[in-house]
Each structure stands twice: as structure tokens, then as C-alpha cells.
């Protein structure tokens, strides 16, 4: 391809492609501008941007981006030849807004939900920092006791529930929490928000205290906690939860979850259950409580009954009185199952792609290094001019290779952020399973109560039939019948409650799935767009670097010999 000698920006073949999308990219930058207000830790983002603009970013002078006037505000326009330094800030400036993930290390690096939908420019920022080792105040017999790590959780928000400390209407406050508190929070949320897609919490690790000391692990966990809390705070419903507020705002140690002593729990369960299911001293338990999911220990007998019910359902012995009739729901479930599979595959391949990009960048760098050494050697040992010429040519290639290597790796860093969306949504599938399970459990409770009612009623019938044969009735039998009728009444109440709960959860499911669809479309769209723009930008940079070398070595082109 001839014509390399004049490869300045004015060259038609290149520019026809470059300008329209560049303008497009400029516009996109401008459009996204105001929205950066709602970015989490946008102040960090801003400061990074301005520091990039101030930094000296030399690059060879014929970089086509340099001639575009609208980019000047972001760029320092002095360049030097053959420098090995940073590529222009343009890349960072143009490409990172589309990641919706600010560059700063402190802010969260990814989340599936957009902040752009806040109608009242409400915000909440959560930062997790300053891990510290603390000692368990021991009742234990072991001297020295357990150490654990606490994290400083700093929240800034203007949400009404949190009160405000200054005239801007926003408050800032910090608390110290340990991981166990986070687990408790997650469990409480799971109870209170059945049917919702609750962001999955970071994994527990069965860790030795030695591993816990390891800085890397602590840093990983810190980051994971920050991401998790931020996700909670961006869920439209959960962000308003009291459980979250208490976690974020209330000073001092949080109460531990109720006793973990298995034996006493079982006893508790055994005692409470008859009340739960047979209605004695009804005031002790409300129907509301009764329809909460059966938990271990306390609700032993109930669990047993529900298990029996689900087995009956499975074997189809007796058709359950209420079935999952919602066809739409079943289809949705199928679709989500497919989605999960596809996400899993895509997530895996994304990792493969990231690795391949990393590798090619590295090898290109090493190639460059090899040629630099060769060039240096030839120059030092040169006896003939042909050697000096060759060394100069080698150096050109080497310089370009090192630059290209840097571009590959920078591009990849951005790619990682974009494709993280896939990993995030894959993680969210877990929440979907939980939400569906909430629904199934609620349905099971309803079915169990209906079966219970049915058997209670038939017992009453039998008693009535028996006692009608005796004139005047049987005192004990009558008493029994009264008791049974009372039980039936309570159970009816419980059943009504259970059905309401089930419907409520169904509604939650529906809304959340809709929200998931909407947000997923949005996020996937942004992911693709971000990925593509990033690739275009860096491919252009790399092309320029090599085009320059081809130009400089054009005397060797076959046509000219």
C-alpha cells in the first residue's frame, strides 16, 4: 500500500473512517457528563480525570486524535518523538465514562444497576476501609482468645431516613463492623425481603486465623464488602430497609443472632410448635409469625409437616389444592435457566479473551525488548554504516512494539471492567434462585395449611357423626370438638395469611424479574458499547504506531526496489 509517506491526518482513506465516529464519541462524552454526578464516589473520578489532563502525555506527533480540536480540553498538546511514555489521556477520558465504573480504586468497581434512574438525585455512597485486628473479649477459657478483623464503613447520603447533619441535606457517618455482622445482615434481609432479588453477599471462608491476617485476603474482602453494600444500597427497595440503616448507622456492636445452641433450639421448637399449629394461647403467636418460613429448631414439627406435604406433592398422591398455575412464570423460569447457562459460558469465554489479550500484550513487549537490545548492540559494535542503519530500523520496530504492548494491556484493563458485567449477572442468578425458592416455600406453606385444614375438618366430621348417635352428646367428645373447631378457626386465619404472603411474594418476584430484565438489557447494552468503543480506540492507536513504522521503512517496500 503506497502513500504512507503522507500519512498525516488529512489522508482521506483513514479519516473518512475516523471523523464521524470521533465526533460521535465526543458527543457521547458530553452526554454522559451530567450523569457523572450520580456516579458513586464521583469526586474521586473527577480528580483522576483532572490529574490525567494535567499530566504530560507525549506521543508521536501524527497521532490523528491530536488534530481534533474538541479533544484539546482533555489533552496536553506537547509531544516528543520516540517516547515510551503514557498514551494520551483521551483514551481514559473517552472510554471510561462508558464503563459506568469510575477509575478510582476506592469506589466500587462494578455493579449491575444503574444510578441514572434516580429521580430525586438521591444518592448514597459507601466506602469500606481501614481493616483492623481486634480481640474477642473472651468468655472462653483459652487465653488470648480469637482475633477477628473489623472494617470501617463510611456512608455519605442524603436519604431522608438517615437524617442529615448539614445544610446540604446530607449526612456522613462511620461504623465498625466485622464480617459476621454482614452475614447477619444478609440473613435478616433474606427473611424480610422474600421474593426479592437480593444481591448475594460475599462468601464466608472457613479460615484459620493465620489466613485472616494475610493482607491480600483482607484487601479482597474489603473490596467485596464495599461492592456488596453498594449493591444493597442501589436496590430500589432494599436501600430503604431498616436492617440496612441499622447496619450502616447504629454505633456499637450489633446484637448477635439468636442463640446458636442446638439443643435449646430444639426444645424451644418442641414447646412452641403445638402453639403454632394448634392454636393454644393464640395470643402468643400471630398468624403473621406463623407464616414466616419454617426455621430449624423452633419450627420442628412444622417443618416435618411441610416436608410431608412436599413429598405428597411430589408423588402426586393427593393433588395439592393450589398449584403453580402461572404459565408465564414457568416460561420465565425456563428462560432464566437458559440465561444462566449462557451467562456461565460467556463469563468463561470472557476470561479466556482477557487472558489472550494480556498474553499478546506481554509478548509484544518482550519482542520489543529483544529488538532494543539488538539495536543497542549493533550500534555499539558498528563497524559499517549498514549496521547503524539496521540498528535504527530495529529501534523503530522496537519502540512501536513496546508502545503497542502498553496499549494492549491498557485496553485489556478496560475490557476487564466492561466484561465484569457478565460475571456480575452470573452472580445475580443465585439471587434469582433464592427468590424462586422463597416463592416455592410460601406455596408449600399454603399447601400444608390447606391439607391440615382438610384433615382437621374430616376429624370434626367424624366426631360429629359419632356423637350424633348418642343422645345429648358426650361431654368429652363435645369438648374435643370445641377445641378442634377453635383450631380450625386459627388455622383458617393462618391459611389466609399464608395465601396473602404467597401472593405478596409472587408480586415481588414479578416486579423484580421485570426490573432484572430492564436493567440487564441496559447493562448488557452498555457492556457491548463500552467494549466496542474501547477496542476501536486502542486498535486505532496501535494501527497508528505501526503505520508510522511502515512509513519510516517504506524505502524497503517491494514496489520501490
Amino acid at each position: 500500500m503506497m502513500g504512507y509517506e503522507n500519512l498525516e491526518v488529512e489522508e482521506p482513506t483513514n479519516n473518512n473512517n475516523l471523523f464521524p465516529p470521533r465526533e460521535e464519541m465526543e458527543n457521547l462524552v458530553i452526554d454522559e457528563g451530567p450523569n457523572t454526578q450520580t456516579f458513586i464516589s464521583h469526586s474521586d473520578y473527577r480528580s483522576v480525570m483532572s490529574s490525567l489532563a494535567e499530566t504530560h502525555h507525549p506521543l508521536a506527533g501524527d497521532d490523528p486524535l491530536s488534530s481534533n480540536s474538541s479533544s484539546k480540553s482533555f489533552r496536553n498538546s506537547s509531544f516528543t518523538e520516540d517516547s515510551f511514555l503514557e498514551p494520551p489521556a483521551y483514551a481514559d477520558v473517552v472510554f471510561s465514562p462508558f464503563t459506568e465504573k469510575p477509575i478510582s480504586g476506592n469506589g466500587n468497581s462494578s455493579q449491575p444497576t444503574q444510578h441514572l434512574s434516580n429521580s430525586s438525585s438521591e444518592f448514597i455512597t459507601i466506602i469500606v476501609s481501614n481493616p483492623q485486628k481486634e480481640q474477642e473479649i473472651s468468655n472462653s477459657l483459652v487465653p488470648g482468645g480469637n482475633t477477628y478483623v473489623t472494617y470501617l464503613i463510611t456512608t455519605r447520603t442524603n436519604m431522608a431516613d438517615y437524617g442529615s447533619s448539614d445544610f446540604s441535606g446530607s449526612a456522613e457517618f462511620s461504623v465498625r463492623r466485622r464480617f459476621r455482622d454482614v452475614v447477619t445482615l444478609a440473613d435478616r434481609l433474606a427473611d424480610s425481603y422474600r421474593g426479592f432479588l437480593i444481591p448475594p453477599r460475599p462468601d464466608k471462608n472457613v479460615v484459620e486465623s493465620q489466613v485472616m491476617q494475610k493482607q491480600e485476603f483482607v484487601e479482597q474482602r474489603r473490596l467485596a464488602l464495599e461492592k456488596y453494600l453498594t449493591k444493597l444500597a442501589s436496590h430500589p427497595v432494599i436501600k430503604k430497609s431498616e436492617e440496612l440503616r441499622v447496619f450502616l448507622q447504629v454505633q456499637g456492636k450489633l446484637p448477635l443472632p439468636s442463640t446458636t445452641d442446638m439443643a435449646s433450639r430444639m426444645l424451644d421448637g418442641a414447646v412452641k410448635l403445638p402453639k403454632q399449629l394448634f392454636g393454644e394461647s393464640v395470643s402468643a403467636i400471630t398468624a403473621q409469625e406463623a407464616v414466616q418460613p419454617a426455621k430449624g429448631g423452633r419450627d420442628l414439627l412444622r417443618i416435618f409437616k411441610e416436608l410431608k406435604q412436599s413429598v405428597a406433592n411430589d408423588w402426586g398422591g393427593s393433588k395439592p389444592p393450589v398449584v403453580e398455575e402461572d404459565k408465564e412464570f414457568m416460561e420465565k423460569k425456563e428462560k432464566l435457566r437458559d440465561l444462566e447457562q449462557q451467562l456461565s459460558a460467556a463469563s468463561q469465554q470472557a476470561e479466556g479473551l482477557v487472558k489472550a489479550q494480556q498474553d499478546i500484550g506481554e509478548t509484544m513487549g518482550e519482542l520489543g525488548l529483544a529488538f532494543i537490545k539488538l539495536a543497542k548492540f549493533e550500534t555499539e559494535e558498528a563497524v559499517y554504516n549498514s549496521q547503524r542503519t539496521r540498528a535504527a530500523d530495529a529501534k523503530r520496530v522496537a519502540t512501536a512494539a513496546v508502545k503497542a504492548s502498553r496499549f494492549y494491556r491498557e485496553a485489556n484493563a478496560q475490557t476487564v471492567k466492561h466484561l465484569d458485567t457478565l460475571h456480575e449477572y452470573l452472580g445475580l442468578m443465585q439471587a434469582v434462585h433464592t427468590a424462586f425458592a422463597d416463592r416455592s416455600n410460601a406455596l408449600l406453606t399454603v399447601q400444608t395449611l390447606l391439607s391440615e385444614l382438610s384433615s382437621l375438618r374430616s376429624r370434626v366430621e367424624k366426631l360429629e357423626a359419632a356423637s350424633s348417635k348418642i343422645f345429648g352428646g358426650d361431654k368429652t367428645r363435645n369438648k374435643k370438638m370445641e377445641e378442634l373447631k377453635e383450631t380450625i378457626r386459627v388455622t383458617e386465619e393462618a391459611k389466609d395469611c399464608a395465601i396473602k404472603e404467597y401472593e405478596r411474594i409472587k408480586e415481588n418476584n414479578r416486579n423484580e424479574l421485570e426490573r432484572l430484565d430492564r436493567e440487564r438489557q441496559n447493562d448488557f447494552h452498555n457492556m457491548l458499547k463500552g467494549f466496542v468503543i474501547n477496542q476501536v480506540g486502542y486498535a486505532e492507536k496501535i494501527a497508528n504506531v505501526w503505520t508510522k513504522v511502515a512509513e519510516e521503512t517504506s524505502e524497503y517496500a517491494k514496489d520501490s526496489i
Binding site: 449462557q342 520496530v397 457491548l528
Partner: protein, 400 residues
Amino acid sequence: MLAKRSLSGSGLSPRSPSSSQPFLSVSVTDPVKLGNGVQAYISYRVITKTNLPEYRGQEKIVIRRYSDFVWLRDRLAEKFKGIFIPPLPEKSAVEKFRFSAEFIELRRQALDTYVNRVASHPQLQQSEDLRSFLQDDEETMERARSQDGGIFKKKPADLMQIFKDVQSKVSDVVLGKEKPLEEADPEYEKMKRYVFELEDHLAEAQKQAFRLVKRHRELGQALSDFGKAVKLLGDSEGNQLGKAFSDFGSQSEMLSFKLQKEAQDLLMNFEEPLKDYVRAVQSIKATMTDRANAFRQQCELAETAKLREINLEKLIVMRSDKVPEVEIECKELKAESEEATRRFEVIVRLMNEELVRFQEQKTIDMGVTFHDFAKGQAQLANDIANAWRSLLPKLEACSP
């Protein structure tokens, strides 16, 4: 092909059969697998076009195999000491790859380059062995080949000796060992060190070039896999977003092909020339061995001649009747010594000329290689940019 690598100032214009200028043009084509099983080998067609009187006829086609080329190289090495003999591609180490299409094409290319370099070298082109190689029928060739049995092969021990000389110079001086049969030429010493170090640098560059080929292939594969997964994801989206995903998948697939193609180009036109460069340096090392041997011979014969002279003088004084005999011996030894000195000086002279030519030729060769490399990479990057850019309007259009 030759236009890239022609030697400046050679007497022949290799590919201009239409002019009345003397020309000699050779091409190695048409690899064909012959024989069975372990004995299978590749044969090539070697087509010679020439108007030189020493050649019988204007055009000749013969069938040659790799070991014929080796024969030619060995004979040239024997008869043209001091000249850097153009390098041959390696014998294949691994059985599995001996018949892969890639390997065959690389080898064919390298053999073609080799023959043409010989044919355009001002001294080598005069070789009778070259004429035999280009013209003799297959049976004659086979006889010649089996006769030789590799007696002209350079012994590895010789190469090691030079290497040791370079490496151990310092330690010998320190240990007080004398190496009487070594040239004391400091410039030549420098040149020897240069050659050895050059080989190391080139080998490293070639290694990285090979890795780069692999990386391109891997990236192509990863991109293809990713594109397919994204396409599947899009299938369940439906609507415009799904279409965007689908297009994404298509572009990924297309780019994957381009990456594989670039990998192939890099193998042929970037890594292979670097390998060729390394081989050329190894050929120089072989010449260095010849020079060292010639130097030793010269020294030894000079020493022997001197001793005999001294002996003669003694005998003359003693009026021995052996004098005439020894006189003749002295004459003969003197002649041999002068011959050895001459041979050595020829090698020195030739080496100096060859070195200049080598450096110039390599600058051209590498220049071409670098240029093609840069062009290929620029083209690939542009293709990538264009492919992804084409998705942008669609992505814009389907903003949810």
C-alpha cells in the same frame, strides 16, 4: 522473491530473461511427497532458466530432494573457503511436522532463497557443482550424493574450539597458558565476539517472534469462542439488542479469521527471516572455523619448514650426504608453507569482503522484514478498528 534479497553489484540480473544481459534464474517449486513410510521424502522441481554458455540449454527442469541441496552446500563449503555459504533450512527434528503443509512451504521457500543466493553470488555462481546440481539427471545426482557420505561436513568439535577460544581467552592469560596457534589480530577478535553475541540476540528475537505467532492464534481462538457465547446470549434477548449481540458475534468470528491469517503471515514473513538470519550467522561461524584451521596449518607448516631449514644447515656444515635429499624436502616444504599462507590470506581477504556484503544484505533483508511486519500489524489493527466500529451505529440505535 529474489528482488527482495538480491545482492547489489552481482554480475547477473537474475530475473530478466528478455534482456541480452547474462542471467541465471532458478526457482524451487512443486513439492511432492514420494516414497512410503519411514523412507518417505519430499521432492522439489528445480527450474533453471539461463543464457550462460556454461550451461547446456536455455531451460532445464530437474527433480531434487533436500539431501541434494545439502550435498551442494557441503561441496561449496569445501571449495569456497572464506565465503559465507548461504544457509540451508534445518533438517526437521520432529517426525510429526515433516509433512505438514506449513513446514513444506517454509522449507520450499527457504530452499528457493538458498539456490538463488548461490546463483547470484559472484564467486559461488561459477561453481561446477552448482551446474551439476542444476542440470544433472537424477541418477547422476544420486550417485554423487551417496559417494560423498558427508566427508565434507564440518565437525562440531571445530566449532566448539572457536567458541572456547573466544570464551577462555581471558582465563588462559590469567592462568598463564599460551595459545600459540591463534591469530593475534584484535580486530578479528572483536569480530568473533560480535558474531557470537549477535547470534544470541537474534535467537532471542526469533524466540519472541515465534511466541508472537502463537499469541495471535490464541487471541483468534479466544475471540471466536467469546463471540459465539455472546451470540447465544443475544438469542434469548430477541429484539434489537439481540440483533446487536448477533452482529457482535459475527464480527468476532471475522476478526478471528484475520488473526489466524496474520499469525500465518508472521510465521512466514517475520519469524522465518529471523531464523534465516540466525542460520546466516552460523554459516559465518563455520567460515571462522575454516579460517582458524587455515591459520593453524599455515603456522604448523611454517614451523616445520623452518625446522627443516635449520636441519639442512646443520647437515651442510656436517657435509652429510643427506643434503640433496633434505634440500628437496626443504623446497617442497617451503612451497607447501607458502601455499598454506596463501590459502589463509585468501580466506582473510574473502571474509572481509563477505562481511561488508553480509552487513549490507542483512540491512536490506531486515528492512524488508520490518516493513512487512509493520504493515501487517497496521492492517490488522485497522481491520479490528473497522470491524468494531461498524457495530456502533446499530448499538446506538437500540439504546434501551
